[in-house]
């Protein structure tokens, strides 16, 4: 099983710096804001799917969130979601549920870090 890697950065600015080199700098805040909004929505969807014991949806949402998290620098969130996706794929539902307990706080700190970055770089 993959670890959630507590040592990983909550938010890796280098990933965003690379993104800023790839697309126009003015577009970056739009994508970061969208990610912040979307991750909160995904958290709601995860809670609903947990309530419904809909493991297929849980696997898929964690897959999607893991992909967008790594794209927008939320490395620790990416690691957590990827590990949870793996748990569901392997039928390790209990481990997945335990790991998911950290999700709300991790989304919160990730989004805070992104907002801080936006405030200091895009005022």
């Amino acid at each position: 099983m993959q670890s959630t890697n507590k040592d990983a950065a909550i938010f890796d600015q280098n990933i965003i710096k690379q993104l800023e080199e790839s697309i126009s700098k003015s577009s970056v805040p739009k994508f970061l804001h969208l990610f912040v909004e979307d991750s909160s929505l995904k958290q709601d969807e995860i809670e609903q799917a947990l309530f419904d014991s809909d493991f297929e949806t849980l696997e898929r949402i964690n897959h999607t969130l893991a992909s967008s998290a790594i794209t927008f620098g939320a490395v620790r969130l990416h690691n957590l979601c990827r590990a949870v996706e793996f748990n569901y794929k392997e039928g390790q539902y209990e481990q997945a549920a335990i790991a998911l307990k950290d999700l709300p706080s991790l989304i919160k700190v990730s989004n805070e870090a992104i907002n801080t970055y936006l405030e200091s770089n895009y005022k």
């Binding site: 993959q2 990933i15 690379q18 790839s22 697309i23 577009s27 994508f31 969208l34 990610f35 979307d38 898929r60 897959h63 999607t64 893991a66 992909s67 967008s68 790594i70 794209t71 990827r82 793996f86």
Partner: protein, 472 residues
């Protein structure tokens, strides 16, 4: 402008991909789920599809299968995540062109799409080329030898013209099939193809056969009758064995070729027609001219587009291909169980010089089928003429030292376990050597290597890609 479909359920990621590609010359469409993607694919054709394998309403594989089943002409690039490489490989087995692992950088996305589209274009070129060059049968002909590929190419070009065609070649090489092919490929195909064999018709009747006659023109001419020239109006007149034509009639034919007009035997009125003339002979026309049996001015009028049909002995593997066709045809016709030729029979067929060409081969196979009934055509079933060939005298293919390989063979193959050559390296050497030997003519090299030209083009593209990857 190439059309790209991005199938990605995460709208933020889809928007990011669009942003990455906004300065590229592509028209981008996005689909947020599988159903929308299928609907879009049904209504619009795309050059490339970027496909996320995890979709909310269906597996990305279902879309990949749909594209494959419908033989859609688009390159699919699978989007996957780290740890899902097995899935990506499965997708490649289902004809996905490439895969991208998230997170995807702008550069990687652009290069992958560009490569996929270039590859797609290359495949189109290869397909077109293959359809034009690597043909196994064509308008009644069977055979994929280089000699026949050249004939098919000339027929393709000649068919759109009205110019006279002069076909030479030994008996049984398919001169009439060639004339029919030109007619079938031309815009005249819906009009008559009239064939006259100048050797089979008595000389005194030949003029009437070609130009027709009026009632009372000669004894027995009880009614007006159209000749082949009138019947072929708008179509094609094929004059086989033209070397047998009487010199007086050659004069009349010359006038007909020059003016497209003629008079029926016994008539005083000229008739104008639009006829394409194709003629053929198994004789050497220059020899006939020198011997005074063929008018030189007529020859130069007719000899506008010359086609020389190759004898069967010069058509390499066509002999076996044609034999198999005849075996299948006659076994069906005669209700026999024949399925194949033994290897040694094939060797004899290939070694024999077939003076009667395809017609002789046809007769030999028919003879075997009619007189026997077995699954395999073995040596014992061959007609006496062919059985007289001593198999030990069948020449084996001589292996020429390839000029491209200057080193001794052992230095290439390796003489210790550590220095043994890799299969893929040897394959590259063999292909490059063949291309060199064949003057960079890839279809020719492919022919002699016994592979399709598409295989060589694909391998060359892979080597190019590999060397680009190694240099970056």
């Amino acid at each position: 402008m190439p059309q790209i479909l991005i199938i990605e359920d995460d709208k933020n990621m889809a928007a990011l991909f669009e942003e990455f590609l906004k300065d590229e010359p592509y028209k981008i469409t996005t689909a947020p789920n599988g159903q929308r993607a299928l609907d879009t694919l049904k209504s619009t054709s795309f050059d490339a599809v970027m496909l996320d394998l995890k979709l909310p309403d269906m597996e990305g594989f279902d879309i990949l299968k749909y594209i494959s089943e419908k033989s859609m002409d688009c390159a699919v690039i699978v989007i996957t995540s780290q740890g899902s490489m097995g899935t990506a490989i499965e997708a490649m087995k289902l004809d996905a062109r490439d895969f991208l692992v998230k997170p995807i950088s702008k550069e990687r996305l652009i290069v992958t799409l560009k490569n996929a589209l270039e590859n797609q274009e290359l495949q189109h070129v290869v397909e077109t080329y293959k359809n034009k060059i690597d043909r196994h049968d064509y308008c009644g002909f069977i055979g994929s030898s280089l000699a026949m590929q050249e004939i098919y190419r000339i027929i393709d070009s000649a068919s759109s013209s009205k110019a006279t065609v002069f076909i030479t070649g030994e008996s049984g090489t398919g001169k009439e099939v060639c004339a029919q092919a030109i007619h079938k490929k031309s815009s005249r195909k819906n009009k008559h193809f009239c064939a006259i064999n100048c050797a089979a018709i008595p000389r005194n009747l030949m003029e009437s056969e070609i130009f027709g006659h009026v009632k009372g023109a000669f004894t027995g001419a009880n009614i007006d009758r159209d000749g082949a020239a009138a019947r072929a109006d708008g179509g094609t007149l094929f004059l086989d064995e033209i070397g047998e034509m009487d010199l007086d009639l050659q004069t009349k034919l010359l006038r007909f070729v020059q003016t497209n007009t003629f008079m029926k035997v016994g008539a005083s009125k000229e008739i104008s027609v639009d006829v394409r003339i194709i003629c053929a002979t198994n004789r050497d026309p220059m020899e006939e001219i020198h011997a005074g049996r063929f008018r030189e001015d007529l020859y130069y009028r007719l000899h506008v587009l010359p086609i020389h049909m190759p004898p069967l002995r010069e058509r390499d593997d066509d002999i076996i291909q044609i034999s198999k066709f005849f075996l299948k045809t006659y076994a069906n016709e005669e209700n026999k169980i024949f399925e194949r030729f033994d290897e040694d029979v094939q060797s004899i067929f290939t070694a024999y010089n077939w003076p009667g060409n395809v017609r002789q081969l046809q007769n030999v196979v028919r003879n075997i089928v009619v007189l026997n009934n077995e699954k395999n055509v073995s040596l014992g079933l061959l007609p006496a003429l062919l059985n007289n060939i001593d198999p030990s005298r069948i020449p084996t293919k001589k292996i020429k030292t390839p000029p491209y390989i200057a080193q001794p063979l052992t230095s290439i193959l390796g003489d210790t376990p550590e220095t043994l050559a890799r299969m893929d390296d040897l394959e590259k050497i063999i292909i490059e050597n063949a291309i060199q030997v064949c003057d960079k003519n890839i279809p020719k090299a492919a022919h002699y290597l016994g592979v399709s030209a598409a295989t060589i083009y694909r391998k060359k593209a892979a080597w190019k890609k590999e060397s680009q990857t190694n240099t970056t």
